[in-house]
């Protein structure tokens, strides 16, 4: 089982990710804000973290930075989810060490592919 964290303040989006990952291969943990996400990251050490850029508490960018600074979490595959698709935001995300970037609305199948690749690469 690969643990996947989804952190987003929108319940419907978390539900979408859970539904997409729904299989025996994945265990999905959900966080509705950045601080909860950090707790779950520390607790579950997920292989893949899907982080909303704009959410209450820590933002996706802050979380990414903390993940990369934490030796125990540094290898987490980080995918940022955002509604923004501007070059500056993508640069900022990649600068703090995100692996991939997904812009809402995204295709669940594309998300699945990304997660599968991340798992395969590990």
């Amino acid at each position: 089982m690969t643990t996947v964290l989804i952190a987003d303040d929108e319940q419907s989006l978390r539900l979408l990710v859970s539904a997409t990952m729904m299989s025996d291969e994945y265990e999905v943990v959900e966080a509705s804000d950045g601080d909860e996400a950090w707790e779950l990251l520390r607790q579950y050490r997920p292989r893949v973290a899907l982080l909303d850029v704009q959410m209450p508490g820590r933002t996706g960018l802050e979380l990414t930075h903390e993940i990369r600074s934490d030796p125990e979490l540094a290898k987490t595959f980080v995918v940022l989810l955002t509604s923004k698709a501007q070059q500056a935001d993508i640069q900022a995300g990649l600068a703090v060490g995100a692996d991939r970037y997904l812009t809402k609305p995204f295709s669940p199948l594309e998300l699945l592919t990304i997660v599968e690749q991340a798992v395969a690469r590990a």
Partner: protein
């Protein structure tokens, strides 16, 4: 007789010469411009000349034939009579004085022609008559002189001296006859008096040019001194006030005015002093027209020449009316006011005499007119200049932009109020400041005073030749931040020479806000819209690609539907906001019953047993001014919020009460409450309280923003309160109350539903009509007969009365021509309609929502139709 009078040869010679010169001068004048006074003047000196000739002849040893000597004496005797005639040009001479003079003349002629030698008594009587008339005339001239002013006065004094002396000569001659032994006294006295008489007459009647000039100069100088005093204020009107009386003074006129061209070429506005103003007001004259109908004025106007006019009846209507109003006018002096070969108007002086001296006065008036015109032109230029400066100053002071002007050396010379407002500086503080201090002051207001913008601003303000524009954010204590665009420009004169630097400060906050709003839109489209869209697209794709159990399918479809609805709500809210921001969403407040609005909002909120809505509205709540749809939107928003943020249920209380001319509506819930730090942001666009207890509650963050815009457009206020988290919230707003007069009215409303009656009263008031409403038939009939309304609005279904019967009573009660509009919930049959038409019902309206406004329109239209106005006439 003359032999007694003059014996000393030198004195005699001088006297004779003066008289003869005066005669020649007056004769030349008379021949050149013959008028009655001039002819008389020539005669006055003429009648003395033969005696003088006779004397000269006798002194040289010759002798005239007897009949010639007699004629010379006869001519001499005519002197007093002619003098009296001359006097009559200056003042009214009683008929009996004329009679005395004629009698004395005829009598003396009879005596002289009738017999030789003269009896002593006859000679004595003759001398007495002669002397009396002469002295009377002298007195007349003296009195006229005292009553008049200007050169005329001086001349009249001289004439009076002349006549007085001549009279005295005669009296002395009489004395010499009576007491021959006093010869050694009477002889020299007589000689001196004769000379005095000659000089007096000469100065008075044939004034030498140099003397005239001197007198004229005196008058002009006095005038100019006065004028400069009255020009000190640099106002044309002050000078005009002075000119009239001053001219009257200088020329001995009884009335004077300056007639100034204002606009229309031929229409001259009269400016008179305060004394004459009353006369003019009584006569209703404030202007004269220069045209062929006013020959005297037209000539002066056309020929640019001063003229003296007599015979008022020939002056044309305008001037003649003035003359009649002034009274006793016999002459007019008119001089054009010309400066820079442009004619400004006319100087008008009316005199109470047809003076032989008019030429002098006219000459003075012409000079005065010239000076006055120059002065007026100068004052006009000054006034124009001042007005231009005032206008320019007002324009700069009222500009929406700040304006700061520095001279060539960089010293601030002008700074308008807007600049001080934008920079939060004390008015006038910039005046006199150097460029550096000014730059420091402005830079100190920058939000980021050390940034590159500050450096750019310094460069822009200090650079002498480059005039770029810089946009900065300014922050002033006690005011919100402002985006200000600073632009400097070169102040150059007409020749292109640089005179200084100007700086315009333009508040572009609104424009920047607009841009920020547009940026926000982009942000919303990308964030707020993309999030629900992600769910819709994502679940749709899962549904399309996965084998799913039915419960899962249903769950996913539900999410899609919910998120779709959320998208719709967002788009709707957003469009509302945009419309309001651009002013396209027309809020049209009308008198409305709040009760009805609340009822509708509560109904559309629907039932929720966990969160019931409890409504408390004060009885007798006045009408409010409200746009029904918008206020319902606000009420719905507040009620929905109250329920939405009460996840555990609780009663929602809606209350409405009146206080201080407005109605306050509050919606109180027992829900989550609002943390204190969030309370100030509640009405901001897209703001949502971020707390874990409400993260699941969906919303656009626009509802309260929209509500605030709506309420503020109504002139009301909206606010939210909460004691804190978990303690519920209360949102309140105010609406203005409609003022309705209720005592008596143009329109009588017969209506038993007080709510609807109030609404209609308010609608009538909106249209400038007062209305009184009654609920019963009896009252209505009383009102019709006592108050005589101009129109009646009738509800057909009054309790205990038939509308038809009422209408018949109404017609009988005196309202036979009052237009009646029927408002009814009834569906009228064709027959019923015919009956109403027969009873003179003008219009039948259905009592539906908005019926009050429709009725108001109908009444307004009926009452403004001309035939109704005529038929009904004016009430009271």
């Amino acid at each position: 007789m003359a032999a007694y009078v003059m014996s000393d040869p030198v004195l005699q010679f001088i006297t004779q010469t003066v008289f003869v010169v005066a005669f020649v001068l007056s004769l030349v004048d008379c021949v050149r411009r013959p008028t009655v006074p001039r002819v008389e003047l020539a005669l006055l000196f003429g009648c003395l000349t033969p005696v003088i000739v006779q004397q000269v002849v006798s002194q040289t040893g010759g002798a005239l034939p007897n009949w010639l000597s007699t004629l010379a004496v006869a001519a001499f005797l005519a002197h007093p009579y002619i003098l009296l005639r001359l006097l009559s040009h200056f003042r009214a001479v009683p008929r009996y004085q004329h009679a005395i003079a004629v009698l004395a003349l005829v009598g003396s002629w009879l005596v002289v022609l009738g017999g030789d030698p003269l009896p002593v008594s006859a000679s004595f009587g003759l001398l007495l008559g002669f002397g009396y008339v002469e002295v009377y005339a002298a007195g007349g001239f003296i009195r006229t002189a005292l009553a008049t002013r200007g050169i005329t006065r001086s001349r009249l004094v001289a004439v009076a001296v002349g006549s007085g002396c001549l009279g005295a000569v005669i009296l002395v001659a009489g004395l010499a006859m009576a007491v021959p032994s006093a010869m050694y006294v009477t002889q020299p006295l007589s000689n001196v008096l004769a000379l005095g008489s000659a000089v007096g007459y000469y100065i008075g009647f044939a004034t030498p040019r140099w003397l005239r000039r001197t007198w004229q100069r005196g008058e002009v100088e006095r005038f100019l001194i006065g004028l400069s005093g009255h020009s000190a204020e640099a106002r044309v009107t002050t000078a005009l006030d002075y000119l009239g009386p001053a001219a009257a003074r200088a020329t001995g006129g009884v009335w004077a005015a300056v007639a100034i061209r204002e606009g229309d070429d031929r229409m001259l506005t009269l400016h008179v002093d305060s004394l004459s103003a009353g006369v003019m007001q009584t006569a209703g004259i404030d202007s004269v027209v220069v045209d062929s109908q006013a020959p005297a004025l037209a000539r002066a106007w056309r020929e640019h020449q001063p003229i003296a006019a007599s015979r008022p009846e020939s002056w044309g209507a305008g001037l003649q009316t003035i003359a009649e109003a002034v009274g006793g006018v016999r002459g007019a002096l008119i001089a054009p006011l010309i400066a820079s070969s442009r004619i400004y108007g006319l100087f008008l002086v009316l005199t109470d005499r047809d003076s032989p001296f008019a030429d002098d006065d006219l000459a003075v008036l012409a000079v005065l007119a010239e000076q006055a015109a120059l002065s007026l032109e100068r004052l006009r230029l000054l006034e124009d200049n001042a007005r231009e400066r005032t206008t320019l100053g007002a324009v700069m002071a009222s500009m929406h932009d700040g304006l700061l002007v520095m001279d060539e050396s960089g010293i601030v010379r002008y700074c308008n109020a807007r600049t001080d407002e934008l920079l939060g500086t004390r008015p006038g503080i910039f005046i006199g400041l150097s460029r550096e201090s000014t730059t420091d002051t402005i830079t100190s207001r920058l939000v980021e005073s050390e940034s590159s913008v500050a450096a750019e601003l310094r460069q822009a303000l200090q650079g002498p030749d480059v005039y770029p524009q810089v946009e900065v954010e300014l922050e002033v204590a006690g005011a919100p931040r402002r985006d200000v665009l600073l632009q400097s420009f070169c102040v150059a004169d007409a020749a292109g020479v640089r005179r200084g630097t100007g700086i315009v400060l333009r508040d572009v906050t609104a424009e920047r806000d607009l841009i920020r709003t547009k940026d926000e839109l982009v942000s919303v489209v990308s964030h707020e819209l993309r999030t629900p869209l992600a769910s819709v697209v994502g679940f749709a794709e899962l549904l399309r690609t996965r084998e799913l159990s039915e419960p899962q399918r249903q769950q996913f479809l539900t999410v899609i539907a919910e998120e779709g609805r959320r998208l719709t709500a967002l788009i709707n809210d957003f469009l509302d906001l945009q419309r309001m921001g651009s002013g396209r969403n027309q809020i049209n407040p009308r008198p409305a019953r709040l009760e009805a609005l609340v009822e509708q909002a509560v109904n559309s909120a629907g039932d929720d047993p966990l969160r019931p809505i409890q409504v408390t509205i004060d009885a007798g709540l006045p009408l409010v001014r409200a746009d029904a749809d918008s206020i319902q939107q606000v009420l719905s928003n507040l009620l929905n919020n109250a329920r939405k943020y009460s996840p555990h249920g609780g009663t929602v209380r809606l209350t409405a009460r009146e206080a201080e001319g407005q109605v306050t509506v509050s919606v109180q819930d027992q829900g989550l409450g609002i943390p204190p730090e969030a309370q100030s942001h509640l009405f901001q666009k897209f703001y949502r309280v971020d707390n874990s207890d409400r993260r699941q509650i969906k919303g656009t963050g626009l509802g309260l923003t929209i509500s605030r815009r709506i309420i503020e457009a109504h002139g009301g206020r909206i606010w939210g309160e909460s004691a804190g988290l978990g303690l519920g919230s209360r949102f309140s707003f105010t609406l203005p109350v409609v003022e309705t007069p209720t005592t008596s009215g143009d329109v009588l409303i017969v209506e038993d539903d007080p709510g609807f009656a109030r609404l209609m009263t308010a609608e009538m008031a909106e249209r400038g009509l007062s209305a009184v409403s009654v609920s019963g038939v009896q009252e209505a009939l009383e009102q019709v007969s006592t108050e005589r309304p101009r129109a009646v609005v009738l509800d057909l279904l009054l309790p205990g009365a038939d509308g038809e019967v009422f209408l018949r009573h109404l017609r009988k009660a005196g309202g036979d021509r009052v237009p009646v509009v029927v408002v009814t919930v009834k569906d009228l049959s064709a027959d019923e309609r015919t009956i109403l038409d027969d009873l003179g019902v003008v219009e039948v309206l259905r009592k539906t929502a908005g019926a009050a406004a429709v009725t108001g329109d109908a009444i307004k239209q009926i009452l403004s139709a001309p035939h109704v106005r005529d038929a009904v006439g004016t009430r009271r």
